[in-house]
Subunit: 217 residues, 2 copies
């Protein structure tokens, strides 16, 4: 991953609109760290499947978890998989129908998942990703809960990012078309925190008060 212009493998070489490809680890990590979930493709005797699941990064690996009984997790330790993360940043409205496109940041990772031995450290990193500082406040996982949980990780060695940003690119002969052109931005936004109606008197911690933008204490 040290050369941002070279794909780490033939199957991570971006083919469509290849000038948008990026093989730099920092770009890849930023795309992963901005995500709460990924889509994982795998193949078994029933066909090819595409399953969304929570993900997080520790160093040069992407982590997932689930119940020991999960078909996804069983299959992933037996076969190669492909993981995709996509952030949609906007609709790009060009002067011609054909040149309409979207702005996005996407990551794709190929490889084989492996079981993680230190499940405690991995799950605490997930909690830190979701809600910084919360691990110290919740009732931590019991031995029984940890025993029922599988944690897997995949190396980020065979991965690529693809990013489009900025305004539309129209053909020269379309520039005088009398139509508005530009970008309609899209982003993941946070709404005001909703306390569990089942109650419990604990005060909102700072990161919950700040979640929705304005301080909602």
């Amino acid at each position: 991953m040290s050369n941002p212009s070279a794909a780490p493998s033939p199957r991570t070489r971006v083919r469509r609109v290849a000038e948008l490809a990026n093989y730099d680890a920092a770009v890849l990590h930023a795309i992963i760290d901005a995500a709460y979930l990924c889509h994982i493709a795998f193949h078994d005797e029933r066909g090819t499947h595409c399953i969304p699941t929570a993900c997080w990064r520790i160093g040069a690996h992407l982590y997932i978890h689930g119940s020991n009984g999960s078909r996804l997790l069983k299959r992933l330790s037996e076969n190669d998989a492909c993981v995709s993360i996509t952030h949609l940043d906007g609709l790009v409205l060009a002067r011609s129908a054909f040149n309409h496109t979207m702005n996005y940041r996407s990551a794709m990772i190929y490889g084989r998942f492996e079981a993680v031995a230190d499940k405690h450290a991995a799950m605490e990193a997930l909690m830190e990703h979701l809600a910084p500082g919360r691990q110290a406040e919740v009732r931590g996982g019991s031995d029984k809960e940890y025993a029922a949980t599988t944690v897997l990780r995949i190396a980020l060695d065979e991965a690529a990012a693809k990013v489009r940003s900025g305004p539309p690119l129209d053909d020269a002969e379309d520039m005088a078309q009398p139509v508005w052109a530009g970008v309609l931005p899209l982003a993941q936004s946070r709404g005001r925190a909703v306390p569990d109606p089942a109650g419990g008197g604990a005060a909102m911690p700072a990161f919950v008060r700040q979640w929705g933008g304005a301080d909602s204490a």
Copy 2:
């Protein structure tokens, strides 16, 4: 798809947390219509792949498109695929680490894509999905552009939705844990439209002015 409680096939029967499954067409359609992109899993001689692409719905089919040269589109007419769409609606913070989860609406479709003969109608439906009314304003697709474009569709016959919403569900013995519990909402939001700096004098149409919430004319 007429019975909301019955899966249309063995591979669309939701297995994990099966009480969140929904096989009703209206629920499925709403999840698809709220999306601008999907992830598609397919398998070829290089392995299993997971590729994001724009999607839209016409009736009981999901549509995608791309260049005739696209590997994705070539492979999809040769093999079964799985399409996933996932909207992340919030992080669900429980009183125990183990019961943390996410709120989401997800759809999964299995089947074989087929080529669409009436590409004009299909692409105009995509434009209507992205920017209502815009088709009449842009420079429409030329014969050459349409000839270079492949449009595929997949029937929504073999599909399932899975939806989680609402507050955390904690174990009874954790309800007194002194920690805030509730939902941190997430949503896709729209930012203020960004005109192409390359100019062109056309006024912002109403849907562009309204895109960012406040009227930004």
